[in-house]
Symmetry: C2
Subunit: 276 residues, 2 copies
Amino acid sequence: MTTLTAKDNLPKDHPVYGLKTPREVRSLIRKGEWDFYTKGLAMGYTQANLVVLPEEDAFEFLVFCQRNSKPCPVIDVTDVGSPEPAYTAPGADLRTDLPRYRVFRNGEIVDEPTNITDYWRDDLVAFLLGCSLTFEGALLEAGVPIRTLEMGIGTCDFVTSVRCNPSGKFHGPMVMSMRPMTPAQAVRATQVTTRFSATHGAPMHIGDPSAIGIEDINDPTFGSAVEIKEGEVPVFWACGITPQTVALESKVEFMITHKPGHMFITDISDAEVALF
Amino acid sequence: MTTLTAKDNLPKDHPVYGLKTPREVRSLIRKGEWDFYTKGLAMGYTQANLVVLPEEDAFEFLVFCQRNSKPCPVIDVTDVGSPEPAYTAPGADLRTDLPRYRVFRNGEIVDEPTNITDYWRDDLVAFLLGCSLTFEGALLEAGVPIRTLEMGIGTCDFVTSVRCNPSGKFHGPMVMSMRPMTPAQAVRATQVTTRFSATHGAPMHIGDPSAIGIEDINDPTFGSAVEIKEGEVPVFWACGITPQTVALESKVEFMITHKPGHMFITDISDAEVALF
């Protein structure tokens, strides 16, 4: 249950790919007609990681995000008890508008439902964190290859030996996504993603995987291995799955997240979320 | 009590100006030997706005900062009850290391002490917010004039008609600092300050003061008027005094801040705080 594997059976001719606006896609997801990856949907709009916590844990978690802004860049926080992300997608409902969720209890994944209506409580707060899908479009435009896209793979993410700064009960390792490219492209990618501080920003690491505790670059923790071609180096960005590994290590009593790759699609364009 | 006026009697030959490190300056302030502006002290190190609140208000305030990241860019949050900003100045004490404080009760300023040792409680949380003094050095290096420095004025800040996004009990108008410059310099200043998102980032407004509710550009709410020369336009940045106007309007039960201009000096260099 803890590994995201490539879904080769994605219904590529599904009408969801013809929908242009986030609202249309969310409506279809809300009706239960799409429970797959959100990559490639409503292109040009910012997708987000979800974290839901009881109010009593909300402050410590928000401080955790402040202390770890590369993996956990907060783009919206709901009012206590409200499932509506009023600043990034007014009218949306975070209980139903993601394709699939994960429910954590005491540090274990206990459910992966397609909605969390039955789990919702008046004391819950939802956090949306930026997602690196946002800057992948900008990287492609800058001539930087996105190998996962080329290979049709959802993601290639590693739990690293880099420790997050703790806050109260929240502690754990940082997850990073990896993209292979030439050193010159790594420079360009650093420039391009620097503007996207709300969606993980500049890389955390370039080169030697063992320097960040990765033993086998061909064995990612989440997703599938991507090919590193001759002359390319692996480049690592902080990843929004980090709160999920934190939930596991910290044995958080109750937390709901998205299932990796099954993101919330906001009404904010990728250009809008770039540094302003 | 609500207006910051230029102190013409700043002891310019005081040994504090010879101190190089933030730790040395903080030590002198802690001993009560400096209760003036911090502008020009420990040059090259990031100064910060202070907000102290009871734990019960801390989450709503941190969400307020997330929803208003231009005026309220959070650079450190202490653990509950701890006066030590462990990430930006380990070993410092926020109860004693600022030259002067402001104590708010029910939306009124009730005290401006030189330390808050007697006010400190185990349930208090301290927030440090970035300060535009940080990017003024970068602006000078880029050839952009800082008129307040030229004129020997502490600051030139306005309460505007721009409303902050509310969070729970916290609501109020945004305060902005104003710097006059040519349109070409305004473009350069936008580029330079974009990298300083942790210290208010790019301008909020360029030009017509009435568009943001300012009736008389020569009558700032805080500080003193600065000369706008022929061919110059006023350029406005979000200001870290904003939480203080929010405390007044929201009638916050209990909040402690720095007195405007009397900042906390962190151990983080101005270069370090720039976008990474």
